[in-house]
């Protein structure tokens, strides 16, 4: 069941668009904002509100890599794996990070704290390598700096 707030926010989005379906991505974002990920049940709930079928909604949801259809940790680490970061030392960052977290790309730490995902270019190539944790961007990374960064997220 979606919360009242989620429903209201989705209704607001519906008002912005000429046809209900067009609010699909916004609705998914709203649900994810509130629940961190989008469950099958949420897909059905969103479908109901938008007069769509669950299949239609899931078709959209599964297309985009930042709509999470599996549970994720409390914090999402997006490690830029694109070219400038690759040149500037992605390999070392990746090794250190996976070592510290004890997980690989796509996995969540056992304590549910972090999910690690690769991410295409974060648009900060002049400060490569870079990663994002939730909304925070970290640039000019050095493997040694990673432990402190992770510290900040509980």
């Amino acid at each position: 069941m979606l919360s009242m707030t989620e429903k209201e926010k989705i209704e607001d989005e519906i008002k912005q668009v000429p046809i209900k379906k067009a609010a699909c991505i916004e609705a998914l974002k709203i649900v994810q904002e509130h629940r961190r990920w989008v469950s099958d049940e949420s897909i059905r709930d969103v479908a109901d509100i938008l007069d769509m079928s669950p299949e239609e909604v899931d078709s959209v949801a599964t297309f985009y890599n930042l709509i999470f259809r599996q549970p994720v940790g409390r914090h999402i680490i997006l490690l830029c794996d694109s070219i400038s970061c690759y040149v500037m030392g992605l390999k070392g960052i990746h090794a250190e990070l996976t070592g510290l977290l004890g997980i690989q790309y796509g996995q969540t730490t056992a304590d549910g704290r972090f999910t690690l995902l690769p991410n295409p270019c974060l648009g900060t190539c002049d400060h490569a390598p870079a990663l994002m944790v939730d909304n925070d961007l970290y640039r000019d990374l050095h493997p040694a700096a990673l432990a402190d960064i992770l510290e900040k997220y509980t």
């Binding site: 912005q16 668009v17 000429p18 046809i19 379906k21 067009a22 609010a23 699909c24 991505i25 916004e26 998914l28 974002k29 990920w37 099958d40 899931d58 078709s59 959209v60 599964t62 297309f63 985009y64 890599n65 930042l66 709509i67 999470f68 259809r69 599996q70 994720v72 997006l78 794996d81 694109s82 070219i83 400038s84 690759y86 040149v87 500037m88 390999k91 690989q104 790309y105 796509g106 999910t115 995902l117 690769p118 991410n119 295409p120 270019c121 974060l122 648009g123 900060t124 190539c125 002049d126 400060h127 490569a128 994002m132 909304n135 961007l137």
Partner: protein, 438 residues
């Protein structure tokens, strides 16, 4: 040297009063009050402004394709999806001067008589989102947006849409599908978005840098715009350099600076201990240029003449200690992952090239693999695939096969990467989708 685009960039960006104080929104006042829409378009056309999104198509020309006599809504979209690897120019403009973009959008919208405008912003640009949201609210308050702008009877609504990933969203027709809440697969052209775009209505999609320039062209005219440049392609351009150079960064420079100036002066040359091997001049989907191209002028025609594309004008440098095969593999991994899966050559061809490159990089390459790679660069060429993603993906590959062929052959001959130890396999694909589908 004039730097119209970036001279007022600050962090945090100017608020609307400050922006107005330095002459902001004069272009909106001038255009909506004193110019006919078609005259705005004519002026932009006259300036020979070429789109900064990568393809370099004349902006004024694009606007002129919008049918002006059809009733119903029309749309303007600022393409702020910037996801081309190696590209970080729009972020600067978005975070540093959102009002400039908004002003350009309002003028552009007026020129095509759009009723609604969207900023399509990529997910990762969190600060930009905050800045733009704020700027839009300020512009509404100041009467530059909303009903009856400046009492002229022209109305425009503006929205910020943040994406949820996928490079494809930068392709303008896929972007429109995404704005419609659908999967970001591209659309066939014709019909062009100018005629049938968002929700089937006439729509213009322009890059952030393109739109940010519009106010200055309105204020200072076409001739001024042309005079900024050293070549026939007018204006200044934001150039950037990343990779192992001393001072990676981005600079607004006259269109047509040489590559040598850019890399040696602005970026400070190669880092201590690293040599220059090549450069992608305009993002991941452009052909390598090498040292013999150092003195070419970086404008649309100049780079094209050297066998590449100006693209986004933000370069990635390949140094002599980075494996070119690994470098290209990284790019093809990106492109294979970001294929939308709609057309066969891109969906199946890109993963294949990625696997071939990975095999070569790992020392498992075969002689015939080079031939296969080469054939792919032809097969995935423009027109053969549904959109420009795969042809773009082939540009660095085809030029790498040309310029760094020795490296490829050495990998195959020696059954190893001469640059570094074998690395653990990069996972083919990571996604948090529902698992039963794969």
């Amino acid at each position: 040297m004039e730097r119209p685009l970036t001279q007022h960039i600050t962090f945090p960006p100017l608020e609307i009063r400050q922006y107005e104080a330095i002459g902001g929104y004069q272009a909106v006042r001038k255009a909506v009050r004193h110019m006919q829409p078609k005259d705005v378009t004519a002026l932009v056309k006259e300036s020979n402004m070429k789109g900064r999104g990568g393809a370099g198509f004349s902006t004024g020309m694009k606007w002129s394709f919008v049918p002006m006599d059809v009733p119903g809504p029309k749309y303007l979209v600022a393409n702020a999806d910037e996801m081309e690897p190696g590209t970080f120019k729009d972020r600067w403009l978005l975070e540093g001067n959102p009002h400039q973009l908004l002003e350009g959008m309002i003028v552009a919208a007026y020129a095509i008589q759009a009723t609604e405008a969207f900023v399509f912003l990529r997910w990762a640009y969190k600060d930009a989102a905050v800045a733009i949201r704020k700027a839009i609210a300020e512009a509404y308050d100041a009467g530059y947006l909303g009903k009856d702008i400046l009492g002229t009877g022209y109305s425009l609504e503006m929205h910020l849409h943040t994406g949820v990933g996928r490079y494809m969203c930068g392709e303008e027709t896929a972007l429109l599908n995404s704005l419609e809440g659908k999967r970001a697969t591209p659309r066939a052209k014709p019909p062009f978005p100018q005629v049938s775009g968002l929700f089937g209505k006439p729509t213009i999609v322009n890059n952030v840098e393109t739109l940010s320039f519009i106010p200055h062209i309105i204020n200072k005219g076409a001739e001024w715009f042309k005079s900024l440049s050293r070549t026939a392609d007018g204006g200044t351009k934001i150039y950037g350099v990343s990779g192992r150079v001393r001072k990676p960064g981005a600079w607004e420079l006259p269109m047509g600076v040489t590559m040598r100036e850019l890399i040696e002066e602005y970026a400070g040359g190669m880092k201590e201990g690293y040599g220059f091997r090549g450069v992608l001049p305009g993002g991941a989907s452009t052909d390598f240029l090498i040292d013999k191209h150092m003195d070419i002028q970086l404008d649309f025609a100049g780079v094209a003449a050297a066998g590449s594309r100006l693209g986004t004008g933000t370069m990635v440098v390949l140094d002599d200690q980075t494996c070119p095969v690994g470098f290209v593999h990284n790019l093809e991994h990106f492109f294979a992952q970001e294929s939308c899966g709609f057309c066969t050559p891109c969906r199946e061809g890109l993963p294949w090239t990625e696997k071939l490159l990975w095999a070569i990089e790992q020392g498992r390459g075969r002689e015939e693999d080079l031939e296969l790679l080469l054939r792919h660069t032809e097969w995935l060429g423009p027109g053969n695939t549904f959109c420009a993603l795969a042809p773009g993906a082939m540009e660095p590959l085809q030029s790498a096969l040309k310029y760094f062929r020795d490296d490829f052959e050495r990998h195959i001959r020696e059954h190893r990467c001469p640059y570094h130890d074998p690395e653990p396999a990069i996972p083919a694909s990571v996604h948090l989708h529902h698992t039963h589908h794969l």
